[in-house]
Amino acid sequence: MGDWKTITVPVLSSDSKNIFHYTSEKKISPPSMNSQVLRLPLPSSKNMHSFFSAFCTEENIEQSISYLNRELTTLGFPSIYAESKGQELNLISIINCMNELLVLQHKNLRAQEEVEMQHLKLGSDMDHLQNCYAKLKEQLELSKREIVGLQERDRQLQSKNRNLHQLLKTEKDEVQKLQNIISSRATQYNHDMKRKEREYNKLKERLHQLVMNKKDKKIAMEVLNYVGRADGKRGAWRTDKTEARNEEEMYKVLLSDYEQRQKQLLVENAELKKVLQQMKKEIILLLPPQKQKPKERSEDGLVLSDPEEDIGELNKENMWELSCETVREQLTNSIRKQWRMLKNHVEKLDNQVSRVHSGTLNEKDVISREDHELETEKLELEIQQCKEMIKTQQQLLQQLMSPCDDDTTLLLQDCYLLEERERLQEEWRLFREQKKNFEKERRSFTEAAIRLGLERKAFEEDRGAWLKQQFLSMSTDYKHSENVTTPSAFLGSCDQDNRLVKSTSQRKPPCMLSGPVSAEPCQTSQYITRNSAASKKPAGDSKPNQWVESDKEETE
């Protein structure tokens, strides 16, 4: 036991210290964890059971408890002993401690995981950085080498340059030398030439003397007769007078030439002046509002020139007639001034333009923008409308174009025809049915008429029989002669009977036609009654026919 203690306590203490350290560390900076601390809980959890079994036995339970208590109290947990009963264990506090220890354990595990992750990340980062470092090192090496190469080349080039400079210098020297040689040779040549020419001249002189002094008879002109001068004048002797005249004429020629040239220049000048004047005028016209401002701005410079200008404008007509010398200054001054103004103006305009381009907070600009937006909206609307219009137009166009497609048109036509046909067929069916009904009615009517005729015949026969009987009885009984009128009266009211019969017969068909009950038969019956009331024609045969026809008309 003593051995165990000596061995285990340091381990535990180190463990606990580490844990403590860990907790305190965690508070400060959890990521900066020591790997050693992380590893420790793991083996302990693995061998938990065996470790604990070794730790606590039957014999040393008390000691173990006290040890645990001590340890726990040092860790800041409440004592596991009940305070009041000394050595008695406080189960609740033990359980709490356990729970907290477990919680702590979980926390630690989580922290450990996190730290592991962190570690992995950091490891990969490290690797990456190391790679980068290696690469950069390589690059550095390369750059260094390059620099060395470049320096070497630079040195070479410099030396080359130096050589070239040297060469150039020598060449220049050479050129100088050659030029000197050339010039010396030229002077020598010229000198020789002169010498030779002198000799040659001497020879010429000599020859001249020889040739001319020989009184060469050959040198002569043979003319048949002298001709007149081209101008018709006679030749004059050469005298001082003629010389003076010649001089005079020469100067005349020169003068006339100069005069002509002057005239040309005058014309040219006048034209240029005209252009200048026009330019000036146009500039003035261009700059009426700006004219005032520059004057104010740079008064001192322009006040002086103003009176000049006034003078110039006063005798403008004369001004252009004057020679350039007197007018030149005024003209150039005024033109310069106006040119400056124009320049200012143009610059101002430029500035304005640039301001318009750059500045957006201008009030006018805002308004215009709103306007612009409105306008764009309007335009967009219009575009939408137009698009719709175009769409419909396209559709219409397609429809218009589709007739060209035979199949569809045929199909459409067929559709329409089919519909029409169906409708017609339906109508036709209805019409057939009605016709059938009418036929039926007609048949019933004829039957009724036949029966009526039979009944009437029977009735007539009955009446004949009755009359015969009456006659026989009258002949037998004289007294009953007054009653003879009655049968005649009875005969006179035959219509009434007839009506009755008719009504019965009329009443009958409804019963007979009760099968196909409809409004029409009712109507017809009503019609019949009305007709019977209106027309006293007793021809019952023709009546149904008539009705059928009328009905037909109606249906149609």
Partner: protein, 482 residues
């Protein structure tokens, strides 16, 4: 002295001298030397009032033939002492000067009086050049070695001498109105210019020019400015007033070869200077500063330039019209190739030759340039690109047209009346350009006819085409102005 009846066509314009209105009557035709035996170098002279043109006879007969310009009928026949090397019309077309340098003799013939004659013998002094004075009554003869210039008068017996004339390309220059003559001189290894009054040959001005070796002098058409330019070793042009004052000096560059040719515009407003650096520089007449320079690169890139390229087309032969044996005209037309112009699409690269470096007078630079009579156009030729004529719009100072020919351009000349340029390239075609377009005209001649030079009549109605030993006249209808 016997008066010889003259053809009526010769009467007109005579008294008026320079009046060109009637000058068309004066146009003379020349003999085709091919009709004579043993032809030699022909000489053609063209003088005011126009396009007077004649050709010497064969060297056996030393003949001078004068023809009518319209009909080419022979008007006169003169026989000289020796083979004629140079002929020139007097300004009023009354006289013809025939120079025989070998003999040192000048013969003058009158058209009015065929019997009249004049012979000037320079004797042992020799003769290298002869010319008329502007009044048509004096002849200026330059002796050998440029010892002196002798001025012979046809009016009086007087003879004037001008000493120390400079042996240069263009040493004598007359003003357009014929009043003054400038002569380049060389004394004591220095260049001088003397200005003479032509009416009495009095020296008016004499001044030295700041040149190393004066190469040429030329009056402006208004007769008030004299341009003098230095040798090609140095680019330097000096402008002098009539009274001898130096107006201006212009130098474009140093060291390399300089001016090759110059041309005044007819208005005297511009002076175009063509140089060995293949550029034309234009000076103005007010400040005498450069206005612009026209480059002549081998590639024409501007889309605003029209490039006319001459292309050969095979003649279409109507077989049914062929007869056997073929007529000579038909045969010649069959074997001569026709050509026409096509408008090329820019950029166009022109045929460019590299000048030989180790030869003197390299074939490069602007060797020919001329303003049109209305001042509107300037035609130039770059000797590096011998097949092209460049026509510049002077009003816009821009390149206007380039004519690319099949052969090297030998000569060109503007119509004196309108902006119309005639070009010849050493073949049997003459090419005409005007702002409306251009056309190639085949000379309807048998055999080979190589046009090496051409000359307009002053009326602009016809142009004489000269080959080595033939000439023909091309008449241009006014309606057909192209």
């Amino acid at each position: 002295m016997r008066k010889v009846p003259r053809p009526p066509s010769l009467l007109g314009g005579r008294s008026q001298g320079r009046d060109t209105e009637d000058s068309s009557a004066f146009v003379l035709g020349a003999q085709r030397t091919g009709e004579f035996s043993d032809t030699d170098v022909p000489v053609t002279a063209l003088g005011p009032p126009g396009w007077l043109l004649c050709s010497p006879a064969s060297c056996v007969q030393y003949r001078l033939v004068v023809r009518d310009a319209r009909t080419l009928q022979i008007l006169q026949l003169y026989t000289c002492l020796d083979q004629i090397q140079y002929i020139e019309w007097s300004s009023d077309s009354l006289f013809i000067l025939c120079a025989m340098y070998k003999r040192g003799v000048v013969q003058v013939w009158s058209l009015e009086q065929p019997d009249w004659h004049c012979k000037i013998d320079e004797g042992s002094a020799g003769l290298v050049a002869s010319c008329w004075s502007p009044d048509g009554r004096h002849i200026l003869n330059t002796t050998e070695f440029h010892l002196r210039i002798t001025v012979w008068s046809l009016c009086t017996k007087s003879v004037s001498y001008i000493k120390y004339p400079k042996a240069c390309q263009q040493g004598i220059a007359f003003t357009k109105d014929g009043r003054y003559m400038a002569v380049a001189e060389r004394r004591d290894c220095k260049d001088f210019v003397s200005i003479f009054v032509c009416s009495d040959w009095q020296l008016l001005r004499h001044f030295d020019t700041e040149t190393q070796d004066l190469f040429g002098i030329e009056w402006a058409p208004n007769g008030c400015v004299l341009a003098a330019w230095d040798t090609c070793l140095e680019y330097k042009i000096l402008l002098y007033s009539l009274d001898g004052r130096l107006l201006s000096t212009y130098r474009a560059y140093e060291w390399s070869l300089g001016i090759k040719a110059i041309a005044w515009s007819p208005s005297s407003q511009f002076l175009a200077i063509g140089s060995y650096d293949e550029k034309v520089r234009i000076l103005n007449h007010v400040t005498w500063k450069k206005i612009t320079e026209f480059e002549h690169p081998a590639t024409v890139a501007s889309s605003k330039t029209i490039v006319y390229k001459e292309v050969e087309k095979s003649p279409s032969v109507e077989t049914e019209r062929l007869s056997f044996p073929p007529t000579r005209a038909l045969a010649s037309s069959l074997f001569s190739t026709q050509s026409k112009y096509d408008v090329s699409q820019v950029p166009v690269s022109l045929q460019h030759i590299k000048p030989v470096a180790d030869r003197a007078n390299p074939k490069m630079g602007i060797g020919m340039l001329a303003f049109s009579p209305d001042n509107c156009f300037l035609a130039t030729k770059n000797d590096n690109i011998p097949n092209a004529v460049w026509i510049w719009d002077v009003q816009k100072l821009k390149l206007f047209v380039v004519l690319e020919q099949l052969c090297a351009v030998q000569s060109f000349q503007w119509d004196p009346r309108q902006p119309r340029l005639a070009v010849c390239t050493g073949n049997s075609k003459v090419y005409l350009w005007s702002p409306a377009g251009c056309v190639s005209v085949q000379v309807p001649m048998e055999g080979d006819f190589q046009i090496v030079s051409l000359s307009w009549h002053c009326s602009g109605d016809s142009v004489a085409l000269l080959s080595k030993d033939n000439f023909c006249v091309c008449y241009l209808e006014r309606e057909e102005v192209k």
